[in-house]
């Protein structure tokens, strides 16, 4: 369970980096840690993002979870200057992305 909390914090860090790297500098974050799952919600504005960035993000966050890489590599996400969005995608169960051309909202869920 200790690792679960650490993993959730790192997922939040990685997503925060995604916002900043994409020129979105005002970001609000909330985190729910429940008995069976954890959720991270981020909302930020304001920058115009290309459609392909949003499409890639949706695909990454909804790619199948990959247990094979989890224990070995999870420490890499949210811990340095390099993007690990694909690794993040393999650690989460689902993700919702809303973008209206101004505000980008991301909700990510990871079951324990």
């Amino acid at each position: 369970m200790r690792d679960e909390k650490s993993k959730l914090i790192k997922i939040m860090n990685e997503l925060a980096r995604f916002y900043l790297k994409n020129g979105i500098h005002h970001v609000e974050m909330t985190l729910d840690y429940e008995k069976d799952y954890g959720m991270v919600h981020l909302s930020g504005c304001c920058n115009i993002l290309p459609d392909e960035v949003i499409d890639d993000l949706k695909q990454i966050l909804n790619s199948p979870r990959k247990d094979e890489t989890e224990e070995y590599y999870w420490n890499l996400i949210g811990s340095n200057d390099f993007s690990e969005m694909h690794l993040l995608g393999s650690l989460v169960d689902s993700g919702d992305v809303y973008y209206d051309g101004d505000v980008l909202k991301i909700n990510v869920m990871r079951k324990h």
Partner: protein
């Protein structure tokens, strides 16, 4: 809809298992081409009871047939465990299966890997976690299998105490590896593809320190096969060319996806199978195999068990981070080092540094070819200086070295990059 998606994933998984399983079975059965069953069994017995320290070439200790049998059986075992745990056969696992097969030519065997895998399983069992999450650590963790063999047969303990102690230490090593591997990956920030090599180096150093404090020394070992270049070149070429054929059968002759693959930096975690598809990954593996083989022959090297291990590992990581664009500068760096320093490019240490040095390929991918050449140049010196620490018990000595090289280079490069940004 979800059901159809799941079925399609299952179908593709079965296909991948069949292809990689096919290579494993081919390697196993090809043993009969070189030796009779009796010779294979006799050779296998010598392999299983060998201390297996770096460098122990099983082609010499056993024979061609028994070495290939050992490699095939270990690859099949890894695939069987993966399938049993319903693991997806993606880049990391393909890399692990080929790495295990490669090191089965010089250090890993069916006896000395079991206890380490059992130790990793015990860790997952005690944590009440799925073993699937620990599979890669269990497979790569067998880097320390010479520790099991050396304690079992190398220190001349009275039997069965030697075997009991060796396997107990194997279980202990496997048990402590997962948290260490997960933590050490941050040390080099994912720029050393053989992360377990670094972890195993530190672990091996710890155990060797204990052994030396009880006056137990590991002898310097260099048993290397020579004189089989023609036969082994043909054998390896068959494997590599078949990988290219598999790509053509799966997705035709189009190279569009391959151009995309070549753009990846290769930094951990870059799973080519997931990102670009299985077919193009097989093409990359085949090309890397030929690249390594051509280098070995071009510099006048001998194809030995350790060199085959290097080639198999490069091929395996062709599914997980390496491609010609990020690997060649590292090899060039090692080659330049061999021209200026005391090692010959054609010597075993020179060849292994070039092949396994591609553990640092992500440095090229991230920072360009000049940094790649520099990394190869530095790696050649470091790798020949650190084997003493673990007494030859860590088979991934290049991964150990790669961890240090990446950990030294990355912060320095990044600090200059940041200063440049700040200046703006």
């Amino acid at each position: 809809m979800e059901n159809i998606h799941e079925k399609s994933i299952q179908k593709s998984e079965i296909f991948k298992y069949r292809i990689i399983g096919g290579y494993s079975v081919f390697i196993l059965l090809s043993s009969l081409f070189f030796n009779s069953p009796k010779e294979i069994i006799e050779g296998l017995f010598r392999i299983l009871t060998s201390p297996s320290l770096l460098l122990t070439d099983y082609l010499v200790v056993g024979n061609f047939g028994s070495t290939l049998f050992n490699a095939g059986i270990l690859m099949i075992l890894a695939l069987f465990i993966s399938k049993k745990n319903k693991a997806q056969l993606n880049g990391p696992l393909i890399a692990a299966v080929f790495t295990i097969g490669g090191f089965a030519f010089f250090g890993k065997n069916i006896y000395n890997v079991i206890s380490i895998m059992a130790g990793v399983y015990l860790h997952s069992f005690i944590k009440k976690d799925h073993f699937t999450k620990y599979l890669i650590i269990a497979f790569f963790g067998t880097a320390l299998s010479p520790l099991v063999s050396q304690v079992s047969f190398g220190f001349n303990f009275i039997q069965p105490y030697g075997i009991l102690l060796g396997n107990s230490l194997g279980v202990l090593v496997g048990f402590i590896l997962p948290p260490m591997a997960s933590s050490f990956v941050r040390f080099h920030q994912g720029f050393n593809l053989y992360n377990i090599g670094f972890t195993a180096g530190i672990t091996g150093m710890l155990f060797m320190s204990f052994f030396r404090s009880f006056e137990l020394q590991n002898p310097a070992t260099s048993i290397v096969y020579e004189g089989g270049n023609l036969v082994l070149s043909i054998y390896l070429s068959l494997i590599f060319i078949s990988m290219i054929i598999v790509k053509i059968v799966i997705s035709g002759t189009s190279l569009e996806k391959y151009k995309k693959l070549l753009k990846h930096s290769g930094r951990l975690v870059t799973d080519f199978v997931t990102l670009d598809g299985f077919g193009v990954t097989m093409l990359n593996m085949g090309i890397l195999g030929f690249l390594g083989l051509i280098y070995v022959i071009a510099v006048g090297g001998q194809i030995s068990g350790p060199v085959i291990g290097g080639l198999f590992t490069v091929v395996g990581f062709g599914a997980f981070g390496k491609h010609p664009k990020n690997a060649i500068p590292i090899i060039v760096g090692v080659y330049i080092a061999s021209l200026l320093k005391t090692w010959e490019a054609s010597s075993v240490s020179g060849l292994l540094a070039a092949l396994f040095g591609t553990t640092l390929a992500p440095l090229t991918g991230q920072y360009g070819w000049k940094i790649g050449v520099l990394a190869g140049f530095i790696h050649m010196s470091v790798v020949t200086n650190i084997g003493y620490l673990h007494g030859g018990m860590n088979l991934y000595n290049n991964g150990f070295s790669g961890g240090f090289v990446a950990a030294i280079m990355v912060p320095i490069i990044e600090s200059f990059k940041k200063e440049q940004k700040d200046e703006r």
